[in-house]
Symmetry: C2
Amino acid sequence: MLACMNTAQASLTIGAVAKRVGVAIDTIRYYEREGLLPEPLRRASGYRSYDEGAVRQLRFIRRAKDLGFTLEEIRDLLALSADRHRGVKAVKQRAQQRLAVIEERIAELTRVRDGLAQMIESCPGHGSPEQCPILRALVADESAV
Amino acid sequence: MLACMNTAQASLTIGAVAKRVGVAIDTIRYYEREGLLPEPLRRASGYRSYDEGAVRQLRFIRRAKDLGFTLEEIRDLLALSADRHRGVKAVKQRAQQRLAVIEERIAELTRVRDGLAQMIESCPGHGSPEQCPILRALVADESAV
DNA sequence: ATAAACCTTAGACCTTGATCTAGAGTCAAG
DNA sequence: CTTGACTCTAGATCAAGGTCTAAGGTTTAT
């Protein structure tokens, strides 16, 4: 841990990796079972032994997951990275598909927000329920959320 | 909740409702169990008997779900319309809370979109994985699979 | 040298949001 | 009146993405 600035074999335990990436130990073993992380080296005792590359790969998985990829899709992305030439194109395409889905969702939510905001604005906040645009939209109209 | 002066009690079977809304029969019963749909009237035989209000409410649930709300959130959203007796004021407050949640969700998704869009933009879409920012986090070391 | 803290496995369990099954009753058309 | 489509219930099952347990073995710090 001291002067180990050196490249490859940091030999981290699973707990150390979990702590560094901010993920549960069980999750790391789960990803390994699911083929998202390669099987690591083992110490004589059987303990898993990770290096910086594993930390990077785990971070990649988490980032991809945060971007809305399913584990299945991430496994796919990782497999594609093996295809050193055509892989990049496919990865970019998939990212673009993801982006389109996310943008569509943002657009929908924005429409909903605007509708709701307008309802709130035009609701007096008192009086009879029949006059409340929020209730009218929720109960009777299709264009609410 | 949806007890209105509205159109006739059409007395639809669960299957008819399912067909009209485009949802499985099981899903309707599931929503009922989960408190998203009120318990419908029953025929003498025990068959559920729905009216147009139920159809509308079910459509509302599906739309909200499509927009990424959890069933829990939808139950909450529906509670807005149940608040009639506590007054328009309470309803408006709940709507405002909901608006804040939606805006937070939009902000989150926007952050995700920006991250993804930036990666895509700086990815050439061809060449070696080393040039692809989407993969670079993963392959920074040569030991990529 | 002993306790605390960590690691191993297989396998059970959790949450969400449904979907399916079995065994039974009901309804509508011919 | 019979047949096939429909509905009922309770409970099992699914899929994704983990999380936890039991019953150990290993390391490390005091």
